[in-house]
């Protein structure tokens, strides 16, 4: 990040290589549309570029980058809010390792798609992308305890839905 701030394009390429995939997965989770998420990913990297001065050495890079990506999604959602939304199509949502194997992949994604959005976001940020609850709190503007609560409730919902799916 310091090299990128110093003006190295190679450093930007390395940053993109390291972060584009998890960011795309995160944006897909938020937008629930992979094509939209791919557009948002490019927009997010433009915002990251414009705000690179704000990054301070010593701060973890990923919460900073994910927060900007979330902001880009929020702005996009605001712009799209006047148009009718469809939740029918489920995107390729990432699955937490804790529940992977408890059901078929499709069932897992369907269950994950049915978890409340704020709980699903906290759950995935913690269990899939490995953010601490302090980092999630800073990214979402909530207390770490609230982030933990959302994540654990999301996991509870997910397990409940998976057992319902298993029962048929």
């Amino acid at each position: 990040m310091a090299a990128y701030q110093a003006g190295s394009i190679e450093a930007f390429e390395a940053l993109y290589a390291a972060l584009a995939a998890p960011l795309l997965a995160y944006l897909t989770t938020l937008a629930r549309d992979r094509t939209v998420a791919q557009d948002l990913l490019q927009e997010a990297f433009l915002h990251i570029h414009r705000s690179r001065r704000a990054y301070r050495a010593g701060l973890p890079v990923r919460p900073w980058v994910f927060t900007i990506a979330r902001y880009v999604w929020l702005m996009d959602r605001r712009l799209r809010s006047r148009r009718p939304q469809s939740d029918q199509e489920l995107p390729d949502l990432p699955v937490p390792a804790e529940v992977d194997g408890l059901a078929e992949r499709d069932g897992l994604r369907r269950a994950l798609g049915a978890v409340l959005p704020d709980r699903r976001e906290a759950l995935l940020l913690h269990h899939v992308w490995g953010f601490s609850f302090i980092e999630i709190g800073q990214m979402l503007g909530i207390r770490p305890q609230a982030a933990k609560l959302r994540s654990s409730r999301g996991m509870g919902d997910l397990r409940r839905m998976l057992s319902e799916i298993a029962r048929g």
């Binding site: 110093a6 993109y16 995939a21 990054y55 800073q138 990214m139």
Partner: protein
């Protein structure tokens, strides 16, 4: 979870490469807020130097005169530091902390108002109320403007993703810094005057911060498209 490799689009790489130049990383929010200390001290003593110390200073004592103003000044700087932290992506303040920040500011202002009034109840001479109200309201807002400008610039240089919250924080902070000096000159301690003119000035400064931060944020997002 295995994640696929996402290719960097050539168009995005070109845009970044064209615009890429070295930037100096920002300092910590606290350090940048402390950098505003000379301005805060100047505001604290400006009204006293120009108009003189409040007439009831000997009656209310050094704690309620200088002590209360210094506490208010430090609180104002803390709010500005909070705004500068809020302006950095990934370090946004939780709602509870925002509530504590605004709540502490409100409690401090009300406590200082009440203590000063009970120690030295000073009424405004009949017929002079409106003029005193206008002088103190205008004085507080005008004194807050330099802080609003500097703090607004510092916050905008970060990348506030919630500009209204950052603006409210540094706006109220600027109002507190301005009133910390203005109350050292104004000896009218009646709560209707203090709350109706001085505190209203702090609130209006907060509103100016919100509006200013929102306008700057919209302009920068439009110009960067």
């Amino acid at each position: 979870m295995g994640e696929e490799q996402v290719r960097l689009p050539a168009e995005l790489r070109d845009i970044i490469a064209r615009d890429l130049h070295p930037v100096a990383p920002l300092g910590s929010p606290v350090r940048r807020a402390v950098g505003m200390l000379p301005l805060a001290v100047a505001l604290l003593v400006a009204a006293v130097i120009v108009f003189g110390l409040r007439r009831d200073a000997s009656r209310i004592g050094p704690f309620l005169t200088w002590g209360a103003s210094i506490i208010q000044m430090l609180l104002g700087l803390a709010l500005v530091a909070g705004a500068l932290r809020e302006a950095v992506p990934g370090t946004t303040l939780p709602r509870r902390m925002l509530g504590i920040a605004f709540g502490t500011a409100a409690i401090a202002v009300l406590t200082i108002t009440f203590m000063t009034w009970t120690t030295s109840p000073t009424l405004i001479a009949p017929g002079y109320e409106t003029r005193a109200w206008g002088i103190c309201l205008t004085g507080t807002i005008l004194s807050a403007l330099p802080v609003l400008a500097v703090a607004g610039w510092l916050a905008a240089r970060a990348y506030p993703l919630r500009p209204r919250i950052a603006g409210a924080l540094y706006g109220i902070g600027a109002g507190l810094l301005a009133d910390a000096g203005w109350r050292l000159f104004c000896h009218f301690s009646h709560p209707t005057h203090v709350l109706g003119a001085h505190t209203l000035g702090i609130v209006l400064s907060g509103i100016i911060g919100v509006v200013g931060a929102t306008v700057v944020s919209r302009r920068s997002s439009v110009s960067s498209r």
